[in-house]
């Protein structure tokens, strides 16, 4: 606490990396940022970046920025994963690998934190921004400026997490930082504070996004789109955002209490002094379990879109699907205790939570059967998004069985915190969330760039991911049954685990090749963009409104706001066109769209200062950040000139141009 008065808080030169491995990490971060800056200067793209992207309030632009950041973070956390596997493959018996135990622990803590908060969440918010407004026939989200703030808070969180590589260190207490290990007494460095503040800042961004998207879905649907006519992706986003709104405040408060413990000597979760560490574990999972469904519901929505479109059929069991989503939403708040049956709560409590957990398998199973029956009697186009779907069903079913096993408390006693558990949740999150978002990116890519992704490389990437995944995680299931716990930086040779860790390491390597192939796929597709150009705006023979616009989608989305009277409105429109039904003449009307604003960025920067100041106990920096953020908000609140006007004739011209002369895309 005393350091708060110091000008530099706890900051000093000693906090720079001291050993070669951490220095390498720091050099990569600094070098990467410098390389981007140099490239932008060399190609004279700063102004373009600022005007077209950073200050944009267009949800499509914000969506792309989310996805770009998430992909960079995927690479970073992927490297973390490779380092962990390399350590575990080499640290057996008398050999101790190349990482110290503390460094190893920082790496897995960072891997989990980044993958969940900055990869999965980033991809999710990115996709929602891109797709959801278009699917409901809207030009924008309900609160475009709030959307920008949310993105920049997310980005500040990203910066804080990665800054820990350069100055100080990251938490070594696992991705959920259970006390008392994460308390000051056992984790005296700044690592846990970095963890707390990057999640505080990003978490508030998530909450704002949740409110924004929920409001958008409720209030901004186009004419005729009743709730039961919404695309399934929109339903799943609605479910997920409801969860965000209820769950994220719990996270924010829990982290605050932990920070109070660490910084002001309070005793919410300490061992002794009246603290109760199990209260933290309860609270963090009261957020944490819904969080799993926050990530996976939109991915379920993606699969619903992909399967219906690529099977050339209506989605099977629409009403069941909607009920299944809301059953999952409700149930996801009733199962948190299954993450710690081993706390010893007693048979009644464990039995209750075991049963509620299993019940979730019912709506999830219903969804799987409905997808399968969507394919039944369809015409299935085996394009990359469909492959991701098939991979998802295979892995998700296996992971689901593992989940049912873990839901039985006495079985959980034998599997909890073992690598079996690690394999289970990776199966669910990689196949469910990541494969879902990969399918989504491939599927919607032409809509936002004007050209399709290379199919052949997409296929290679899929097979690398699938085979790599099986090799990387089937050994972990077996290792769990062999008694291998998670987070071990070293083990004895007599355990017999070594060969399996080697196989797992090879699997991780193949996944890395898959990820590299995907990056190559994007580059190759940009180079060959003329060959892959999408002139129709409807490359998949789509069913929902976004496909009715030209590709890339114009900044106003729809020149004329659509009116719908059925579930797959664009499909219906196309059927009607075939029947040569008469078109009504196009009537253009003037529209208003939000102007660019840089205030979101400023708020992001000020929030970063608050976080950084709080991590290093620099009081004046926190105050500057707080005053800056609040006054930025005030300035924006009193700005009247926030919208740009597009007249009907202008719009008509733009629309005509977009439809007859599709651009090559952003690239």
């Amino acid at each position: 606490m005393i350091e708060f008065a110091n000008l530099l808080g706890k900051l000093s030169f000693n906090q720079l990396p001291q050993d070669p491995v951490t220095a390498g990490g720091a050099a990569t971060v600094v070098g990467g940022v410098l390389a981007v800056a140099v490239a932008l200067t060399y190609f004279r793209r700063w102004k373009w970046l600022w005007k077209e992207w950073l200050t944009s309030l267009d949800p499509k632009r914000i969506g792309v920025m989310y996805i770009v950041v998430a992909v960079v973070m995927l690479v970073r956390a992927g490297v973390d994963a490779l380092m962990m596997r390399a350590q575990q493959a080499t640290s057996v018996g008398s050999s101790h690998g190349f990482l110290s135990s503390n460094h190893f622990q920082q790496i897995f803590s960072a891997h989990g934190t980044i993958m969940i908060f900055f990869v999965a969440m980033g991809l999710m918010f990115g996709l929602i921004n891109l797709v959801m407004p278009m699917q409901i026939g809207s030009r924008d989200v309900a609160f475009p400026f709030l959307n920008s703030i949310a993105f920049w808070l997310f980005f500040s969180g990203v910066v804080l997490v990665n800054l820990s590589l350069v100055i100080g260190s990251f938490s070594a207490a696992g991705w959920l930082a259970y006390p008392p290990l994460s308390e000051l007494r056992y984790s005296p460095g700044v690592g846990v504070d970095y963890w707390i503040w990057s999640l505080e800042v990003a978490g508030i961004g998530s909450l704002l996004s949740g409110i924004n998207f929920l409001t958008t879905i409720i209030t901004m649907r186009c004419k005729g789109m009743s709730l039961m006519k919404m695309p399934m992706f929109v339903w799943s986003v609605m479910g997920a955002m409801t969860l965000v709104v209820f769950a994220f405040p719990i996270l924010t408060v829990t982290l605050t209490l932990l920070y109070l413990d660490r910084t002001f000597g309070m005793h919410f979760f300490t061992a002794g002094g009246g603290g109760n560490m199990m209260m933290y574990v309860n609270l963090i999972w009261a957020w944490g379990h819904p969080e799993v469904y926050i990530l996976i519901l939109p991915a379920f929505g993606v699969f619903s879109e992909v399967v219906a479109t690529l099977s050339r059929k209506r989605l099977f069991g629409y009403t069941s699907m909607v009920w299944a989503i809301w059953a999952i939403v409700l149930l996801s708040f009733t199962v948190w205790l299954h993450h710690f049956f081993t706390m010893g709560a007693g048979a009644d409590v464990n039995g209750f939570f075991g049963i509620t957990t299993m019940i979730i398998a019912v709506p999830t199973g219903v969804k799987i059967f409905n997808w399968l029956f969507t394919m039944y009697r369809g015409r299935i186009l085996l394009a990359t998004p469909m492959w991701w779907f098939i991979g998802f069903i295979v892995l998700f079913t296996i992971g689901g069985v593992a989940g049912v096993l873990l839901a039985i408390p006495p079985v959980d006693f034998q599997l909890h915190n073992s690598l079996f558990l690690v394999a289970h949740f990776h199966t669910m999150i990689v196949s469910g969330v990541l494969f879902g978002y990969f399918a989504a990116v491939t599927y919607w890519y032409p809509k936002f760039t004007g050209f399709r992704l290379n199919e052949r490389l997409g296929g290679y990437a899929f097979w690398c991911w699938l085979i790599g995944f099986i090799l990387a995680f089937v050994p972990l299931y077996i290792l769990g049954l062999m008694g291998a716990t998670r987070r071990l930086d070293h083990y004895s040779a007599s355990t017999g685990w070594w060969p399996l860790f080697i196989v797992a390491g090879i699997g991780a390597g193949i996944i890395a090749i898959g990820l590299a192939t995907q990056i190559l796929q994007v580059i190759v597709s940009i180079v060959q963009r003329k060959a892959n150009q999408d002139n129709t705006g409807d490359p998949w023979n789509g069913r929902t409104l976004e496909w009715s616009t030209p590709s890339p989608a114009p900044f106003y989305n729809f020149a004329i706001t659509p009116e719908v009277d059925s579930r797959d409105p664009f499909w219906a429109m196309k059927q009607a066109r075939k029947k040569n039904e008469k078109h009504e003449p196009l009537v253009y009307q003037a529209i208003n769209l939000p102007k660019n604003s840089a205030i979101g960025i400023y708020i992001g920067i000020f929030s970063f200062l608050i976080g950084f100041g709080a991590v290093w106990h620099i009081l004046w920096l926190c105050i500057v950040g707080l005053i800056g953020a609040v006054s930025s908000l005030l300035v924006r609140s009193y700005t009247k000139d926030t919208e740009r006007h597009i007249s009907a004739t202008e719009l008509k011209e733009l629309d005509h141009k977009a439809r007859t002369n599709p651009k090559e895309g952003y690239a």
């Binding site: 008392p180 290990l181 069991g317 019940i359 398998a361």
Partner: protein, 309 residues
């Protein structure tokens, strides 16, 4: 299929077969503790696991069958089945897959409820042999086992007579850990200021490895111990030997042991201090102490019965 393609797929299939056979051979010759339990609780937990796995197959097999056959039959490049683009719901079919998983889950729920009670780690194991108490303290980064009746203690080594139910009483004098001997049965958390219980019984002789399943800091990976199970007679002999150990686990010896250490070797003590275990717990329970390494005060305050539950 062209000749080239045939060779290619032949090679792939051969590689998969070789890989799988090597894997199976390896797994057959490896000890998989959770699946090859040597204790009553572990055995029941294993059987429960296999039962749930079999029950899941009722759903998994149809899902896989439907997935692959539908993809094959209705693929656009070579479709075989009918095309019904408007076929989008069917009450009876949907009712079926709300119903079948519900029935399975209902069966599993009954099993879950019952097994949660019969295999409750706090539940003593029914046996003709009277149960034995071993107190377990998770420390940075080692395990201390106190035998209150035998008046001995050991570090990273626990000896238990076979076919004797053992009541492990567990706490931590540091952060949270999890006490796990996979071959004997499931784990439970070791928490500072709290008391948890785990009943296990070894049914055959052997050395079983145990560890902490919950991350606890720098030396966590080295928090392994051996659980040795042998006959009652050899247990008594062992106790006789350990009792003779000159190192008494006095409060000051305990304070020395309590200093953080990694990969701690096995150690033995005799005459553990009175109420040592209860004292360790209550140290974290007082409101005005944060148990910040202050070991000087005596361990006399016994916890209330409420706390012991």
């Amino acid at each position: 299929m062209s000749k080239n393609k045939k060779i290619k797929s032949g090679v792939i299939v051969a590689c998969i077969i070789i890989f799988v056979s090597v894997a199976v051979w390896y797994l057959i010759h490896t000890n998989i503790p959770v699946l090859e339990p040597k204790g009553t609780i572990g055995l029941k937990e294993r059987n429960l696991l296999l039962f749930a796995l079999a029950l899941s197959a009722v759903v998994v097999i149809p899902v896989f069958f439907m997935l692959f056959s539908f993809v094959w039959r209705y693929r656009e490049s070579k479709p075989k089945g009918k095309y019904s683009p408007e076929f989008d719901h069917s009450r009876p079919i949907e009712a079926l897959w709300w119903l079948i998983p519900s029935i399975l889950i209902a069966i599993l729920s009954v099993v879950t409820w019952n097994s949660s009670h019969t295999l409750d780690p706090y539940q003593p194991i029914a046996s003709k042999t009277p149960q034995m108490t071993i107190q377990v303290v998770a420390m940075d980064w080692k395990w201390l086992f106190i035998y209150p009746k035998q008046q001995i203690a050991s570090v990273n080594y626990v000896f238990m007579p076979i076919n004797t139910p053992v009541d492990f009483e567990i706490t931590s004098d540091s952060v949270m850990n999890s006490f796990w001997i996979p071959q004997l049965g499931g784990q439970i958390y070791a928490m500072p200021g709290m008391f948890s219980q785990l009943h296990l019984m070894a049914t055959s002789q052997g050395n079983f490895s145990g560890s902490s399943a919950n991350i606890s800091g720098r030396g966590f990976a080295g928090m392994t111990f051996v659980a040795h199970a042998a006959s009652e007679q050899s247990f008594l002999n062992w106790v006789k030997n350990v009792v003779k150990t000159p190192d008494h686990l006095t409060l000051s010896a305990y304070a020395r042991l309590n200093r953080p250490s990694e990969n701690n070797p096995v150690a033995y003590y005799s005459k553990p201090a009175n109420n040592l275990f209860v004292g360790i717990i209550s140290r974290y329970m007082s409101l005005n102490s944060t148990a910040s390494g202050n070991n000087s005060h005596s361990y006399n305050s016994a916890p209330t019965t409420e706390m012991m539950q």
